[in-house]
Structures are given as C-alpha cells and as structure tokens.
C-alpha cells in the first residue's frame, strides 16, 4: 500500500516523456481503426481522403473471412478448455507443496511461453512429422493448449497462494472431507482466477499466429487469413476492418480478466 506521500511530483519533462511513451504505444492501434474507415483503397495515403463504412460491408461479405473467424473461435474454445483443466490441476499440485524437482517442473510449465514461438512451432511440426501426424484442427488446438496452460496456471497459483492455509484446515475441522472442501471453499475462491485465466488464454489463442503457421497445415485461422491478406493489394481496407474486429474480440476478455484479478486482490480479507 502506498501512503499518501510515497510518490513525488515528477518534473514537466519527466511527465512529457512518460506521456510520449504512452502515445507511442497506443497510436498505431488507433491508426488502424482510422484506416478502417478510409475511402482510399490503393495506397496508405494519409490523411485519408474520406471516411466511409463501405469496407465493413465488403469485409462481412467475405465468406472465407467468416470461415477463418469460426475456426479461430472453435480453436480458442477448445484450447482454453484444455488449458483450464490441465493448468488448474498443475496449480493445485504445485501451489503450496515443496518437493524435490519442483523447480524443474515449474520450468517445464513455463518453457512453452519462454522459448520463442518459432521454436515451439518448429518443434511441434518436427514432432508431427516424426509420428506421421497430419496437421489439422486438433494439432492447432494442441499447440495452443500447450502454452495457454501456463496462463491459467499462473492465475490460479497466484490466487491459491494468497489463500490462508487455515481455511482448508477449518473446513476439514468442521467435518468436510477433501472433496467437500474443494467444492465449498476452494472452488468459489479460485473461480475468478479460473475465469481470468480462461479469458486470457482465449485471447492468446484467438490471436496466435507464430506457432499456428506451423501446426495449421491448410487450415486458416483468422490470423492466418489476415496474414495472407497482408500482401494483397486489392481490398486493402478490408484487412483494416478485420483488424478492428480482432482488436475488439481480444480486448473484451483482456479487460474483463484484468478487472477480475483487481477486484480479487481488493476483496481479500
């Protein structure tokens, strides 16, 4: 907790520099949103000659875009479900117990996200080729679930570590066995962490391109579709429209997850 005067006023220069940093971070995203409404479709001319909603119509008429969106949603749902189960199991196992090899196991869980995506992607491809597995829906899901696992794990573990051990003991003392304790005491507590972790995992999976390019084969998730469109000179603003849609679809879960974790921390007695 910061006391009232823990922080000092920054100089004007410092504040400007900080603001500049924030603007730098946000400007490109807003540029995309702006370009989604431009009337010019051949170049990236700035300022845009005019504003229109025309491209939204055209974009939503593209059936391949919808197919890609549908695939991305299904993949994200499946990967998130898997990640929730596996990540939660891991979190409960590792939250409080100390045992030999715990550090190595934790490292193993972090590895898929710690190593660059290209290595994960190539490794999965190599693995698939070795056992002769054809890329498809489930290979995409498998790849996503592997690193989404860590997101859920982090969220649940953080929540479990903030929970006093006495709660579990009190529950058992009052007559509840392990399963009842989980149902009445633990589950309500980690529910918000599960939700937050699940939403972050969903956003991560929906947006994923680097590993997916290796595991998708001929399938097109929305990011893959988008990547293909990047180099198409015609109908350029359509890509902008889809970009805006993607921003919205991923933004909502992220914000929700953030608020969930914040209220969690505040609500602890």
């Amino acid at each position: 907790m910061r006391s009232r005067r823990d922080w000092s006023r920054a100089s004007l220069g410092q504040r400007l520099a900080a603001a500049a940093g924030l603007v730098f971070l946000h400007a490109p995203v807003w540029v995309i949103v702006l370009y989604a409404f431009t009337t010019e479709d051949r170049t990236y001319q700035f300022p845009p000659p005019g504003l229109t909603l025309h491209w939204f119509e055209v974009a939503f008429a593209r059936s391949d875009m919808w197919a890609a969106m549908r695939l991305s949603l299904l993949v994200a749902l499946a990967a998130t479900a898997l990640a929730l189960v596996l990540g939660t199991l891991a979190a409960f196992a590792l939250a409080r117990r100390e045992f030999a090899g715990k550090e190595s196991i934790t490292l193993l869980f972090v590895l898929p996200i710690a190593l660059p995506g290209i290595i994960t992607g190539l490794a999965l491809l190599a693995g698939m080729r070795t056992i002769g597995l054809e890329p498809g829906f489930w290979t995409i899901v498998a790849g996503h679930a592997t690193f989404c696992l860590v997101i859920v794990y982090n969220n649940v573990v953080a929540r479990l570590r903030r929970m006093p051990a006495s709660w579990v003991e009190a529950s058992m003392d009052l007559g509840a066995d392990g399963f009842q304790t989980f149902r009445y005491v633990l589950l309500p507590q980690v529910a918000s962490a599960l939700l937050a972790g699940g939403m972050l995992a969903f956003a991560l999976s929906f947006d994923e391109i680097i590993v997916t390019l290796f595991t998708a084969g001929h399938q097109q998730t929305l990011p893959i579709w988008f990547y293909g469109e990047l180099f198409r000179p015609r109908e350029r603003p359509i890509t902008n429209v889809v970009a805006v849609v993607v921003i919205l679809v991923t933004l909502v879960p992220i914000l929700l997850a953030y608020y969930l974790t914040r209220t969690d921390e505040k609500g602890d007695t």
Partner: protein, 302 residues
C-alpha cells in the same frame, strides 16, 4: 459417498500430488518435450543433396553448413545485432514511462498507466505489425508527419544511409528496428517499473541528504537497483527479436533473419535439418543470455 476416497487420499500426500500432476505432465511431456527432442534430433540429420530427402543418420554436416557458409553466418550475426540494438533502445525508451509509473504516479494514475501499457501489449500481434506497415509506408503517416514538420530532407538522408536505409521506412532495417522496439516495449516497461517501484524512497532521500545531485543519485542508486528489472525486460526483448520471423518479412529490408530462414527452410526448401539447426542457435543464445540475466538478478524481478 466419496468420503472413503477422500480419506484414502488424505494421508497420502505424495500420491495425491502425483495424481494431480499426471495429466499436465503427461501432456507437456508428450506434446512438448517429445517435440523438442524431435527437433533436436532433426538438427543432427542431413539432407541428401541428390534425392533432397532427409537421411536419418547422425551427422554434424548440417551444423557445419550452418557455421561455414558465409550467407548463414551473416544471417545469424544480423539477427543478433538487431536483437542487441532493439534491447538497448527498448531500455532507453521504456525508462521514462516506467520511472513515472513507479515513482511519480499517484494511485489512480498508476492504475491507468498499467492498463495503458497492458492494452497494447495484449492487442493482436499481427494487427500491430500491420499498423506499422501502414504507418511506415511510402505515403503513410510517418512520411506525412516528417514532411509536415519540415523534416522531409532528414528522412531522405536517413533512408539513404547504407545498410540500414532503404526505399521507404517500411522496407528498411530502420523501419524494422522501430517496429521491433514498439512490439516489445511493454515487456520491458512492466518488469522495469516493478523493479523501480521496489527502490525505497528513503534511499533516494538519503542520497540527497548526503549531498548527491539528482544525476548522481540516478547513476549511483537508482540505476544499479533497477538493473534486475532491466535484465528481466531484456530477456524478453532479446529472445523475442531473436526468434521472430513475421516482422522481418512484413517490414524491412530483404536480408534474412534466423526466424525467416527457419520458416523458409522447413517450408519451401524442405530442409528440415537445416531449419532445426538454425532454430537451435536461438535456443543456445537464449540459454546463455538467461544465465547472464539470472546473475544480474532478473529472476527475482520477474
């Protein structure tokens, strides 16, 4: 009903933990570790020049190819230099914002800043890359802004610089550099802000009390204590740049980077062993960097 099971598990802690860990470990073991192992194995195979097929025999030929062909060495060096440059630049750019967030922002402002950093961080990667392509394009915002500010001539000179320049920002190393810095900036800001926040205000007051000017306090007190945060952030920027293959292909000069090479070799060139060998390079470099960063205390700052 389930009570006998619960009681059975109650005393047997090790068994219970193993039961919980079995599914995730099994998953990671088969899907991930086995794949990594397959990758490593591939790097020790080689392509038969005549049949263009992978010969599954242990050989160091592919690694030899990697380290002896000048084109390949170029690729590695180019990527490493870019990674180092990006890391340094990101540290400098991130500092003012991180410092403000940690030391000078009131509680509400601080929360706002954190959201302000996290939102772009979680915005779609491709969208961001694409946005920069628009901005850096020949008639895009960047050139419009420069000409409006009367810096059109400066931009042209910049683009005329050998090696790093190019026909437009969007197809030059400078452009690529800017995009890299932008993409990984939040990953540098957050650990840095966390580390700076942990510097007790009393230390700065003590330094001033003993006669140090703000610059000296910064150099002697703040910077050394912020180092773990810097190290942690640099791990991200370094490893992310090292392995990226999309940014160099969307924005930048024709020169190849490790990531692009890997992607191309496993795809159109069908040379999985070479792709695997190339991908081992970042793994080794990152492992070394991690060891270094650990020394600097990066892991305590994460």
């Amino acid at each position: 009903m389930l009570r006998p099971v619960a009681t059975f598990l109650h005393g047997r802690n090790a068994f219970y933990v193993s039961l919980l860990l079995l599914p995730p470990l099994l998953w990671l073991g088969t899907v991930y570790l086995a794949s990594l192992f397959a990758l490593l194995t591939q790097s020790f195979y080689a392509i038969d020049e005549f049949t263009a097929r992978i010969v599954p025999e242990f050989t160091l030929k592919t690694y030899g190819q990697l380290f002896t062909q000048p084109a390949n060495v170029d690729i590695v060096l180019r990527t490493v230099f870019m990674a180092i440059a990006v890391t340094a630049a990101a540290a400098v750019v991130a500092f003012p914002l991180a410092n403000y967030m940690a030391r000078h922002a009131g509680p509400k402002m601080k929360a706002l800043c954190y959201v302000g950093v996290m939102l772009p961080m979680w915005t779609s990667y491709l969208v961001k890359v694409y946005a920069w392509r628009l901005i850096l394009a020949k008639q895009g915002i960047a050139s419009w802004a420069m000409t409006s500010l009367g810096l059109g001539g400066a931009l042209d000179t910049l683009l005329a610089t050998p090696v790093v320049g190019g026909p437009s920002l969007a197809s030059s190393y400078i452009g690529m550099f800017i995009v890299f810095v932008y993409m990984w900036l939040p990953f540098m800001i957050l650990p840095l802000a966390a580390a700076l926040e942990r510097v007790p205000g009393s230390l700065l007051q003590a330094s001033a009390d003993l006669g140090a000017r703000p610059g000296q306090t910064f150099r002697n007190v703040v910077l050394p204590l912020a180092l773990p945060g810097l190290a942690a952030g640099s791990v991200f920027t370094f490893s992310l740049t090292l392995g990226d293959y999309i940014i160099p292909s969307v924005v930048g000069a024709p020169g190849y980077f490790i990531g692009m090479m890997v992607y191309q070799q496993q795809g159109t060139a069908g040379n999985m062993p070479l792709a695997a060998a190339f991908s081992v390079v970042p793994i080794v470099l990152i492992a070394v960097y991690l060891a270094l960063a650990k020394r600097l205390g990066a892991f305590d700052a994460l």
